[in-house]
Amino acid sequence: MSLNSKRFWRAAAMMGCSSLCLAGTAALILTPPRAAEAQGPHPVQIAVATQAVAPALAEATVGFADGAKLTGSVSFSDDFKALAPLVAKGGSTKDPAVCGASEEIPNEELVVNPENKGIANVFVFLPKAPTGYKAPKADKELIFDQKNCKFLPHSLCIQVGQTVKVLSDDGVPHNTHTFPLRNAGFNQTVSPNDRKGVELKYSKAEKLPIEVKCDFHTWMKAYHLILDHPFMAVSDANGKFEIEGLPAGKHEFTVWHEKKGYLDKKLAVEVKAGESKSVDLKYGAKQFATFEGPQPKSTVVSLTK
C-alpha cells in the first residue's frame, strides 16, 4: 500500500502568544499552512505525490524456470594482512571455558581469503524488487547458529516473512539482539546447546543490512539483510556469489560491505532470459580505508566561488 494515493489532511494550530509560561492562555487559531491554500477554516487537502506507477510486468515473465542468473566474485586488489583476532585463543575474559577456548575468535570486519583474495560477507542485492514482480513466499527455513561465541553465518540474507531458526552450539547462553530500522527490535536469549532453536521473523524489508549482537559477549556481531524479494546474495569464503531467477533485462545492484558501507551503489548488469552472466568485482585497500588520522586543514568547497 502506498501513501501516494492517500490524501493528507492537515490543520495548523497557531499560538497567539509565544510565552512558554503563559502557554495556557494562548488561543488556537486555525490557519491554513500556506497562503495559497487559504480557503477558509477547513482543513486543507493536499496530495503529497502524484507519481505514475510503472505498468506491471506480466506475471509469466518472472518465473524461476527460465530466469537469468548472475554469478560473480568479489576480490581484494591489494596486499592484505589478516586482522588481529577479536579474542585470542584462551584469552577470553567472558566464559573462557567456551569462548575462544579451542580456537581464536577472528575479527570478521573484513575477511579476505589468503589464497584467492576473495572477500567474504559482501552483500549484492537489488534495492527494490523489479517492477511488477511478486515474490513467492519464502518457506525455506534459515539457520542462524552460534559457535565458539561467534555468529554463523556472519552475514545472512533473509526474505520478509521467512523463518530464521536461531541455534546455539555453545555451552553458554547467548542472546540475539537485532537493531532494525523498519522492524520492531528483537532481543531474546538462546539456551546453551539449543539445537531446536528460537524463531525469528521480520515483517518488513530493510534498506541496508542491519546489525545483530549478543549482550553476553560484547564482541559478537552479525549482519542480516531483509528484503521483500529473493534477489540478494552474500559472498562466500572465496568471494563468490550467485543470484538466480532474475527477470531478464537491466538491473542495478547494490554492493555493500559492513566496513565500507556502499562499495557500489548502482552496479548495472544486463541479463538475458535463461542465461548466466558473470561479474568480477575488485576493491582495494583504498576502498576499505577508514580515516582515523587528524582532520585535514582544508577541503576544497567550490572552484567557482
Binding site: M14, M15, G24, A26, P43, K94, P96, S191, K213
Partner: protein
C-alpha cells in the same frame, strides 16, 4: 550593562502589563544525526518537518498520524475547543509546563534538568520505550503510557502526574506520541541521508578521495550530485517514513503483540522460590552474569567493554559497562532493593523477564523458558530483598562460576 538591565526590567514590565513577554521562541532541536549532515541536507529535513509538524508555537496536525487531535465543537464552553486540533494544543501547553525541563521541547530528553539526572529522561525520538505491555521493540500502548504518567517510574526522577487527572494525562500521552512520531520520522530521514553519503565528514572524505584523480571535483559538485538524486524522490521518501512510523504505532494495539502469560502464576512457596533461584543462577540463563549472584546488579558483565553502535572501524567505549540504546552506561537493576520501575505486580516482572527491557541489553527469556519457569523466577526475584545474599548456591547449580573476571578489551 546598563542597557541590558534596562531591557530586562522593561521585559518584566511588559510581562506584567500585557501578560506576554518576549522570551526566546521555543524551537524543536535538531537530532544529532541531522546536525551531522551537510547544511543543504539538514534543510531538506527541516522543511519536511516544518511542513508536517510545524513549530512549537505553530503546530501542524498531520491527519495521517494515528492521533486524536480533537475535533472542534461549536458548542464547547471554552472558545479554543470550538476549533479542530484543540487536544494537540492543550497537550502541548501541559507538556511545556510539566515535562519540558526534563524531556526537552522536541522530546529529545535534553531539557535543562536532564544533565543532572541518571538515568536520563527518555529521548522519545527513537520510539524506544522501556516499560510496556507489548513485545520486544513494539511501541507502547496508550494505556502503558497512561500508567507511566499515573505512577511515575520508581527509582528514577520521573515523577507521578496522577494529580493532573485522567483527562489531562490523556492529552499528555498523545502529545508524547506525537513528539515521538515526529522524532522517528526525523531520525529515519537523517539515517537515510547519511547512508546516501551526505554526512559532512563523509562528503569531505569523498572529495579528498576523488580529487586525487580529478581536480575539478569539489564539495559542491559531489554534494549537488548526491542531493539531486535524493530530491528526485524526496516526497516519496518522506511519505514512506511516515507510513513506517504509523505502522509501528498501530502495531502497538495489535492484540498479538500483547505479552500475556498462558499459565497461571505458580504459588510462591519455598520450592518455587528455590527453583527460581536455581534458574536465575543456572548456566542456562545466567541472570547473574548481569545482576550478580546475589542480585546486587554487579555481575561480571558490568566490567566488560561494549562496542559503539555502528562505529566504523568497529571499536569499544573507553569505559567498561553495559550500554543502553542511547549510548549511556546502564547498570543492571539491584534486585535486593525491591524497587521496580514499571510496577511490582508479578505480571509486571513476568513481562520484564519474558520480553527483556527494550532499549537496554536485558534480553527476554520468553522463547527459551516455559511460563511456569518464568513464574518461578518471578517468585524468586520478588523474594530477593528478603533473602540472605550470602547463602551458597543450590546444589548442582554452577552459581559460583560467574565470579567477576578481570576486564580487558
Amino acid at each position: 550593562m546598563r542597557s541590558s538591565s534596562l531591557s530586562l526590567s522593561l521585559c518584566g514590565l511588559t510581562l506584567l502589563l500585557a501578560g506576554c513577554g518576549q522570551p526566546p521562541e521555543p524551537k524543536f532541536s535538531l537530532n544529532a544525526k541531522t546536525a551531522a549532515l551537510t547544511p543543504a541536507a539538514q534543510q531538506l529535513i527541516s522543511e519536511a518537518l516544518v511542513e508536517n509538524f510545524g513549530t512549537p508555537n505553530n503546530l501542524v496536525a498531520w491527519q495521517e498520524l494515528p492521533i486524536d487531535y480533537g475535533k472542534g465543537s461549536p458548542t464547547a464552553a471554552e472558545a479554543h475547543r470550538q476549533a479542530d486540533g484543540w487536544r494537540l494544543k492543550e497537550g502541548r501547553d501541559l507538556y511545556m509546563v510539566h515535562c519540558l525541563h526534563c524531556h526537552g521541547v522536541a522530546g529529545d530528553g535534553n531539557g535543562t534538568t536532564a544533565r543532572f539526572l541518571n538515568p536520563r529522561p527518555r529521548d522519545y525520538r527513537q520510539g524506544k520505550y522501556k516499560f510496556k505491555s507489548t513485545a520486544g521493540g513494539n511501541r507502547p500502548t496508550h494505556d502503558d503510557l497512561m500508567r507511566i504518567l499515573e505512577e511515575g517510574i520508581a527509582g528514577t526522577y520521573m515523577p507521578s502526574f496522577a494529580l493532573l487527572g485522567k483527562d489531562q494525562l490523556g492529552l499528555l500521552v498523545d502529545y508524547v506520541r506525537w513528539l515521538s512520531m515526529r522524532g522517528e520520522i526525523e531520525e529515519g530521514l537523517a539515517i537515510e541521508l547519511a547512508q546516501v553519503g551526505l554526512k559532512t565528514a563523509d562528503l569531505e572524505r569523498t572529495v579528498r578521495e576523488q580529487r586525487t584523480e580529478d581536480k575539478s571535483v569539489t564539495l559542491d559538485t559531489v554534494r549537488d550530485e548526491l542531493l539531486a538524486e535524493v530530491k528526485a524522490s524526496w516526497p516519496d521518501t518522506v511519505a514512506e517514513k511516515a507510513k513506517d512510523v504509523v505502522d509501528f504505532w498501530n502495531e502497538a494495539n495489535n492484540a498479538e503483540n500483547l505479552v500475556m502469560p498462558v499459565a497461571k502464576r505458580v504459588v510462591a512457596d519455598a520450592e518455587s522460590i528455590a527453583r527460581g533461584r536455581a534458574l536465575y543462577l543456572s548456566k542456562e540463563n545466567k541472570c547473574s552474569d548481569c545482576h550478580g549472584p546475589a542480585g546486587r546488579g554487579d555481575g561480571p558483565q558490568t566490567e566488560q567493554f561494549s562496542a559503539i553502535d555502528g562505529a566504523s572501524p568497529a571499536r569499544n567505549y573507553d569505559e567498561p559497562g553495559l550500554r543502553d540504546a542511547w549510548g549511556n552506561i546502564i547498570m543492571p537493576r539491584n534486585l535486593t532493593r525491591g524497587v521496580y520501575r514499571f510496577g511490582r505486580r508479578p505480571l509486571d516482572i513476568y513481562r520484564r523477564v519474558h520480553q527483556g527491557i527494550n532499549g537496554t541489553p536485558m534480553p527476554g527469556f520468553g522463547k527459551t523458558l516455559k511460563d511456569e519457569q518464568i513464574w518461578d523466577i518471578v517468585n524468586y526475584v520478588l523474594s530477593i530483598p528478603y533473602q540472605d545474599g550470602t547463602a551458597p548456591a543450590p546444589e548442582g547449580v554452577a552459581g559460583g562460576e560467574t565470579v567477576p573476571e578481570t576486564a580487558s578489551r
